[in-house]
Every structure is written in C-alpha cells, then in structure tokens.
Symmetry: C2
Subunit: 334 residues, 2 copies
C-alpha cells in the first residue's frame, strides 16, 4: 500500500480509502489507484486491518467431530452463508472431549474472531463465561444448556424423541428401547421425548431398555453395535429401538442382522439425522430429519446479525421442527 501510494504520488490514506471505496475520493484518483491495485494484484493485509478495526471478518466453529455427517452438513450450510458476506470460517474439532473444547475456545478467542459457534460437549455452561467476558458473540449449535440464556440454533429435541417413539408405536412396536447419547441437552431432550411418548401410551416402560453407547458422537457405529448386543440379551427383548443418531442406528441394525433376526419384522429401528445415504442402506433407515443444513444456515444468519448489532441483543433461541422420514426399517405389517 505504501508502495502504491509512493508510486502514484498520493498518500496511503488515499489508497486505503479507495480500497474500501470510501466516498470522498476524486474519480480520477480512484481510477489510477484501482488500476495499479489490479496490476500489482494487491490484497489488503487482514491482520493489520483487524488490529485497528477490531474485526477479523472471521468466525469460528467447534464441533465434536467433523467426519460426522451431521456436523459436516451444518458446517457446509454455515460456510455457504458466511462466504457470501465475505467471512471466513475457522473449524476445529473437540473430539467430544470437554478439555479439548475449552482449549479450542481459548485458541479461537485469542484470534479475536468476530463470533464463535459451538456444538458443545460440555455438561456445564462454565466455559462460556469466559467467552462472555471477552464480549465475543456466540451461538450454541445443536446442544444448549437448560436455563442458560444464550443464542441457540437447533432442533426441538423433545419433539424428536416423541415423534420417533410415536412412530415406532404406530408401527406396532410394544417394547421400545432407546439408545441414548451423552449428557448433552440433545440426548436428554430426546430421552425426555421418548419417555413422554411412552407415558402417553399404554405401553410398559422397562428401566434397562435405555442404554448409552460408549462415545455416541465419535465412534457411533461401534457404540450402537455394542449397545444393541446388550439389548438383545434382555428378556423380553425389545421389538423397536429408537437411536440417538443414524450411525448408531446402522450399528444397531448390523448387530441385529448378525444375530439372525430381521429388521423390521423382529425389531424395528429408527435413527436421527436423516443422513443422505440412509435410503441406500442394507435396510433403508427410518430417521427423524434434523434439518442439519438449515441449522447451519440459520446459525450463520444469526451470527451475522449478532456481529452487526451495536449492542448485544436478547439471546434468541431458534428451534427447528423435526419430521419423521419413514423407510424400510420401521415398515411392519402392524
């Protein structure tokens, strides 16, 4: 910039104004500067700009696992929205480990990002105090903290659990198990919905029909497979299983088939997420659609509005409505 200014015999201020196409610049001067900028392929140094303006035009996303299709889709939707407004996106994965998550938050905070989005693996809202202290706007994605007023974008998880369970009931299942997720709002909400649906029906509820996989967010398939093995040893064994997510459901189906039982005839299975390959599975998987991409897009828009706002607005909670997508895995001649 200094070079351009010197060459053209104008000041850096002038060049700077042209770059940001500030109004008060002579048309002739503007053209000259613009021309030289193109020639030199000049790009302003964002780090320097960030230093003085305090805005980086970058946001951060922390997810438990990038490879998990749900988070990949969220990231995809997010990235699209942000790109259009010229924001960059830093992504990091917490591997489902709260310590790593805190560390990542710290790292991103020190980059002075304009906003953070987090699908948290925490059970407590503690580490968000620090973000608030730094006055960095943030949005919780997919998992919230009950009673904590914070910006949130996700799906109504109680509805997810209720819909899934009711679907199994109407498919004729009488002994419905649930493979639950970790201690996040998402898992808790779905469990709650499951319980509500059962309570609303005349079906019996068995204590040991609710089991938790080892690490449902990261090694989902294995978690599901293991959990189902346990359920299969129960007597009476379940005839319907509602799974915390689709990869778990896939593990569950595989476990059932290995035993020689049939899906959905012997045991019906439903998952959550409606991943795009669900319909091509060995047993096409019924699933509760979570609108993953929409979650990313809404979060993107919310975060942009947060950044633009001069004063931090009231936290908003955006709750998308889930829907059952029925497929083979629950199609019983009930």
């Amino acid at each position: 910039m200094k070079d351009i200014a010197r060459e053209l015999g104008v000041s850096v201020v002038t060049v700077s104004k042209v770059v940001r196409n500030h109004s008060d610049i002579g048309e002739e001067t503007r053209q000259r500067v613009l021309k030289r900028i193109k020639e030199l392929n000049y790009e302003p140094n964002m780090a320097a700009r960030a230093l003085v303006t305090g805005r980086t035009y970058a946001t951060g996303l922390i997810v438990p696992d990038l490879v998990h299709p749900f988070f990949a889709e969220v990231a995809g939707g997010l990235s699209d929205v942000l790109r259009r407004k010229n924001y960059s996106l830093l992504i990091s994965s917490s591997q489902g480990d709260p310590d790593l998550e805190r560390q990542e938050i710290k790292r991103l905070l020190s980059r002075r990002l304009d906003a953070l989005m987090i699908a948290s693996t925490e059970w407590s809202a503690e580490s968000f105090r620090r973000i608030e202290a730094q006055k960095v706007p943030y949005v919780l994605i997919d998992r919230g903290f009950p009673g904590m007023p914070a910006n949130f974008v996700g799906v109504d998880d109680v509805a997810v659990g209720r819909l899934a369970t009711e679907h199994l009931i109407s498919a004729g299942c009488r002994r419905i198990a649930h493979i639950r997720g970790p201690a996040t709002s998402t898992a808790v909400g779905r469990l709650e919905g499951y319980t509500q649906a059962l309570t609303g029906s005349d079906l019996a509820q068995f204590q040991d029909y609710v089991v938790m996989g080892r690490s449902p967010d990261v090694d989902s398939w294995i978690s599901g497979h293991e959990a189902m093995k346990k359920l299969l040893q129960l007597d009476p064994r379940p005839d319907g299983v509602f799974c915390y997510n689709d990869p778990i459901a896939i593990g569950v189906i595989d476990a059932i088939l290995e035993t020689g039982l049939l899906v959905p005839q012997d045991i019906a299975v439903i998952g959550c997420g409606n991943l795009h390959y669900d319909k091509s599975l060995r047993v096409p998987l019924s699933s509760v659609d979570q609108q993953s991409r929409a979650i990313g897009e809404r979060a993107g828009k919310l975060v942009l509005s947060l950044i633009e706002a001069k004063i931090p607005p009231q936290p908003r909670s955006i709750m998308l409505q889930p829907a059952v997508v029925p497929r083979e895995s629950t199609r019983r001649s009930a």
Copy 2:
C-alpha cells in the same frame, strides 16, 4: 499487556518475553507476571503478533465439498495434526466451481495464512502462480497437475483404476464400464488405470462404456444414478462398473436395482473411497481404499515442515498406495 506492565512496574517488553517464555527473564519477575496473566485471563492478540512476525499460526484448506465424506475425513486428519502444533485451520468449500475456488484462494491469501492446502477443481495450474508469487507454501491434495512441480499428497490414481478394474475382471466381469469424474488428475488417473487394466487383459473395450456424471464431486449420488441409467440402455449392457467414487457407486447400485437387475449377479459394482458406511449398504460396496485420513495427516505434516523450512524445499509428492476392499457388490460366483 500494557496494563499488566504498568501494574507490575515492568515494561511491556518484559511481559512479552514472559508470554513467549523467552529465556532471559528473572525467575522472580517471570512468576509475578505469570501470576497476573492467569488472574486476568490474558491471551495475546494473535492479529497483532501476526502483523509483526508475519506468521499467523493458521493454515487454510479448500475443498470442493465439505459434506463429501472423503474430504471430511481429510479435514479431520489434518485438523488433528495441526492442532497438536497449535495451528488453526480455516476451511472453505469451492462447491466444485473454479471461480469460487480462485476467489477463496484470494481471500485466504489476504489473511496471510502460513500455508494453504487445496483439493483443486481447476483444470489448469494458473491460479497457483498467484500463490507462488506471494511465497505462501501450499500443498495440493488429492488432485495434482501433471508436469507441475508442486507439493502433493494423494493416492496413486492410476493404481486405483488398475486395481479396481482388475478386481472386476477377476470377479468374472467381461464388459466393464467406467463412470468417470471431472477433468482432474484424479479422474484422469483412474481412467488411465482402467484403460491399462483392460488393455492388459483380453477383454474388448467399448467407447461408450466410459461416461461422465454431471457433477461427480458435489451431487455424486444423482450423477451416478443418471449415468447408470444411460449405461443400462446400451446393448450389450455392461456386467461390471467401476465408479469414480463411492457416492456415485451408491447411485449406480440404486439405479440397477430399480431396473430389477441384481448386484452383483447381473452387474458388479466397485467404487472408490471406502467410506465407513460402505459395509452397511443395501449391497455392501466393494471399494478402493484411498486412505483419506492418512492423506490429511500426511498433508498436515508436510505443511508443517514447509512452514518451518527457511528456504522452500524441493516440492515433494507423497503418493499413498490404494488397496481393494472387496465386499458383496463384486462377489460373484465367477
């Protein structure tokens, strides 16, 4: 930092040195400063640091599609390696559009990242000149440019094509089709391997047995589905299909089954990528493993070494070896 310095009656330089635990600082002073830093929860401003050191401790990754499991896994492996060395990762998606890709490169370049990694959708190496001009180290991922000396991490694509095709041949297929990808090195290499394998056999080669999907990187399933519909109208129709990637292969299988034909009995199918859900598909999918995660990890290590190097080293090409993972979709009683 200024505050801390004032409060403690030392200079900012001293504080700065403590932060970076520079050697020549009195133990007592160090402790005092450290203490205060903890108390205030102080984090150095990376933008400021970047401005003076010229290093951002951040790298960028551009992929055609984040949701594509292959790239998600690459990103996952990469992210792990970089995190351990305290680097952040900016991810952006080019949607398979060369224009968008160039735009993203520009954007990331203006952030003065320490290095870039790109799974390019370009057919020409033109836009990489700009990166070189800025002297930013970069690594091509998955797709290279023949004859262009650049850092590269990927799989030996000719071997991929050869292995897949030979696998179909040994499964007893006599009329082998190929659904190819776009004009990238990856797709070209696989096609080359396919041709080599056929030439090395006594099988006939049909011109119209090679078809290309619409947008193989982004809407893979649809691309595969459409392409297979075309192939099915041929006479004689193929009895084996080698697909550019797994999502395409899934679309292909679905198209075949819709017609009432059987996989693998009537038509065997093999894909590339060995995605983790392949084994749970309606017809468990044979696939050529591309070591996606390893690609990410190797790329991460390479990029770190590039950053550390004072003088740009000779470009290295890291070529991982693929392997066939046979499953139901090619298991014929040949």
